[in-house]
Amino acid sequence: MYIDFFLDRFRAKPNQEAMIWQDKIYTYGEFLAYVENDVATLRQKISGGKVVGLEADFSPRAVSLLLALIGLNCIIVPLTANLGEKRKEYKETARVEIVISVKDDDTYTIQETGKKNSYELIDQLRHKNHPGLIIFTSGSTGKGKAAVHDFLPLLEKFKTERKPSRMIAFLLFDHISGINTALYAFAGKCLLTVKTRSADAVCQAIERYKVNILPVSPSFLNLILLSESYKKYDMSSLKLVTYGTEPMLKSSLLRFCEIFPNVKIRQMYGLSETGIICAKSKSSDSLWIKIGGEDIKTRVMDGLLEIKTNTVMLGYLNAPSPFTEDGWFKTEDEVLVDGEYYRILGRRSEMINVGGQKVFPVEVESVIQEMEGVEDVSVSGEANQMLGNVVKARVKLTANETASDFKNRMRTFCKGKLEAYKIPQKVELVDHLMIGERLKKMRR
């Protein structure tokens, strides 16, 4: 089986801790039993090449089943409960043949859907007898796109054993970075699961279990800063914070560096389509990154980043090919280039064209977020007869202020920090934070 290297590791170090779930530590020895058991059970019911929906969140059984399904060369579609209504849509789109549901008490059920998946990309995997992974892009607009991966290249980096350290399983189980986190549990790091992904719960867990690594989304770092939960708990065990999935606000990054001078902050670059790619920040407080390594090539075409790597997906099930004729993956991320460093500006689809000038929401949000009394801000475009589009800011304030007064204060504040066309022409006051279920900024 393609997971034998994991099982060998479990046998060699049975006492090493792999996961802390509901206050109990699970060791490699226990995981070996879990996985061997699951492989034996599933083998009776599921043949290789089946497309299996895995409805679960981080738990010992969930990660054991993930491993067992890889071992049986299945094509796995991870699905978490917080997808809500989308879960049904995703199962339809991926033509899931079997659904495994892990329940709260960590037992599970297996159910056949009666559907048959005969997509060409899936058949390619079946012919090669390779396990696969289907990840949905959490596109903020429209339908999620189903990215099909060959699982083998994604497993490669876990063959190297990492130094033991404790890491919070924060990113979602059905996200490419969540699957990445899950597999780290078997590469030497201990995964700590949290019941709720609130700033308070996460900071409390860091104190209680002396967590070293915190992989998060930039929006969540903002929540930690805003909630000031870090003041309530001892966070001194924290060594490394990694972030990715969306551009970071410069203001938040500087603030975070100031509060945690001894924590290393590293930006990752990863998309559902490319797998998690090594990146190196110029420094902890810099938004410039170097992407790549030996097997990763990058280039910029028309301001957009393109990538060639062996962990890139085979293709989408339900969308046109995002590859160039010569095989580069078009990320749709607009970047600035400085020598071998890139700065990710944002998705081209989120770019606002104001009278022919480009505006990226994150740059504007970053400035407004620094203003006194601003709790959260989300910037998007709005059609305008005169300029094509204008910049609209939705803002949550901490104190009472009229939209008109705030707008004038904002214009004065932004002057000199942003070009005139980037200063929001429209302002709407809202009474809720604009961070979605997926812990990313909502811009619509």
Partner: protein, 96 residues
């Protein structure tokens, strides 16, 4: 009309604090807003109009869009002076 004029003037007063060259309101209704003889940049103009739209819709409970095809096709631009803008808004509000 006076009420609308008051709303517009109030918005411009606030807005002026954010401009390097404020809009001169000395001539009352005849004060130049946008077009010939105006120092207002188009990006600031769009921003100011958005503020005025907001103020009017807060007051009258009606969403309105001032910069549209209709405004563009008027023989005399409704945005020439403070007074012409007030008249234009008054017209739109009277429509239903």
């Amino acid at each position: 009309m006076d009420k609308i004029l008051g709303l517009i003037t109030k918005e411009i007063h606030g807005f002026n604090k954010t401009l390097d060259t404020p809009i001169n309101l000395d001539k009352g209704k005849e004060s130049v807003l946008f077009g010939r003889d105006s120092n207002l940049q188009s990006i600031d103009f769009v921003s100011l109009i958005a503020s005025i739209e907001q103020a009017v819709s807060d007051e009258y409970g009606k969403e309105l869009s001032l910069v549209d095809a209709r405004a563009m096709s008027q023989k005399n631009s409704p945005f020439r002076t403070v007074g012409s803008l007030a008249e234009y808004i008054n017209e739109i509000l009277k429509e239903d």
